[in-house]
Symmetry: C2
Subunit: 298 residues, 2 copies
């Protein structure tokens, strides 16, 4: 089982890396730096940068060029949360107990802060070039940026968000729900683990395996989320339960029933662990973390 | 003098390049592809991609790796227009005579279309890797993406937009107006010309000269815009004149007076041409284009 202390330590380490790449809060445009940093610092478990670094180490990576990418993936994740919370999207005023970016800095600055973090993520990732010695490593950074952008964009996270927004309030067919889950949640997890593997020099075949593993983790994670909304108490979850039912939201549970949902989480997560065991390296923490993400009760 | 026919031809050529990199309109997330393509196709003179390719050729560039970057810079420019037009920003319903993206596709999809184009620009630029032969050229693509992101982001275009939004309706001191002009308009022109030079193998010293030249072009262009708002007829300009005065907007003309504004445009543009003449290559069209941008009467 995953030790809570160890996860806490890894989260702290990831936060220390991210902090190094946040902009200094000075200059005429100071307000945007404040809005960006406020949003990134608002918290979370930093799962994406942690999964990135652990996968990097699984493939024997030992350099520092992973660090700008760790900060970049968290910036992109935060950018998407800022825009998701806008009045024209989910219209959320609180996230993790604090005012959302648009409530704190205004609607216009929240749009700009999301834009700013999205492109600053790329600017940050390029800083990996300063840790590379050879032109070959430099070209690898370019490929990793391509992967980051592809998994973030219209064939990744943004694409999933588009379909989710478009189907709000409607019954969603199973095929489209799968699409939304794979893209909206899954794509950035795939990017995290694939970039870790890529920068450590994994082969194309290995990258394909990591993609499948990360996709399975993302899908099982999301289905588990739907199960917990039905089975947990609000106290356990730290947020209201049965919210999907109240909002007449189509979920994996409403589509397939709770028994099949549970069986599928088990099946999909076993597949993820199976792929992990077939990869060359060994990383017990990564295995424990994947199990925790999938079997968590809150 | 610049021949209108030649400019039209260059615009057509740039549009043909951009068109190749637009997403196909199919799949679950089709609506976002339509919104992106609608916005990019809504027009404009394609000055940024034209300036990029002409500068590339000035430095002897002959490859195809410039083309994804030409499409990318236009996508970024379009992304900024989509978000500028949003109700929470300028609240514009028409641009170039057609409905703005949020009017046509909804507020939520316009936020997502702006995000989509911003990150798809990076995804597109990375495609330049397929035209590179050596790892060295691959690493150069990574550096060019870094430049693109830096000039787009918080120390570039977005940074200028932040200060512009923040000071809306207020008197703007000269120092901040200069900052807004240099970043909001200037930064993407600098990116265009510097990326052209960089991909053609310009030295760091030459890149610095190109940056100064492009910055001067951007600043003179923007001041000329302020002058035309006062001196042109609506018929000449194709849009309402004296709009700055009506909106109590601080401009270079309200700050410095029309005579000094005219003298400064002449001085700044002479400096741009002087730098151009000091560069190794020769490109008469580029020189004519710069003169046209600065001395235009509409």
């Amino acid at each position: 089982m995953l030790q809570t202390e160890l996860l806490k330590q890894k989260t702290n380490e990831a936060e220390a890396v991210i902090e190094q790449y946040l902009p200094a809060e000075s200059g005429h445009q100071k307000i945007i730096f404040e809005a960006m940093n406020y949003s990134v610092r608002a918290g979370g478990k930093r799962l994406r940068p942690i999964l990135m670094r652990e996968t990097y180490q699984l493939f024997g990576g030992k350099g520092q060029e992973i660090e700008p990418f760790m900060a970049a993936i968290e910036m992109i994740h935060t950018s998407s949360l800022i825009h998701d919370d806008l009045p024209c999207m989910d219209n959320d005023e609180l996230r993790r107990g604090v005012p959302t970016t648009w409530v704190k800095y205004g609607y216009d600055m929240a749009v700009l802060a999301g834009d700013a973090l999205l492109i600053y993520a790329v600017e940050t990732a390029v800083k990996a070039l300063s840790f590379t010695g050879t032109a070959q490593e430099g070209a690898r950074v370019a490929r990793a940026i391509g992967l980051l952008a592809a998994k973030t964009g219209i064939y990744g996270m943004v694409g999933g968000q588009v379909v989710d927004v478009q189907l709000t309030g409607q019954d969603i067919p199973a095929q489209k729900l799968d699409f939304i889950y794979r893209l909206k949640t899954g794509a950035l997890l795939e990017a995290s683990m694939m970039i870790g593997a890529m920068l450590a020099g994994a082969s194309d075949e290995e990258l394909g395996q990591v993609e499948e593993m990360a996709g399975a983790v993302g899908l099982a994670f999301q289905i588990q989320d739907d199960i917990l909304d039905v089975t947990s108490t609000a106290e356990q979850l730290g947020k209201p339960t049965l919210s999907d039912e109240k909002n007449h939201k189509t979920t994996y549970v409403t589509l397939e029933g709770i028994e099949k949902a549970r069986a599928d989480v088990a099946k999909i997560s076993e597949r993820a662990i199976e792929i992990l065991h077939g990869l060359p390296g060994k990383n017990q923490f990564l295995e424990d973390l994947i199990r925790m993400l999938i079997t968590r009760d809150r």
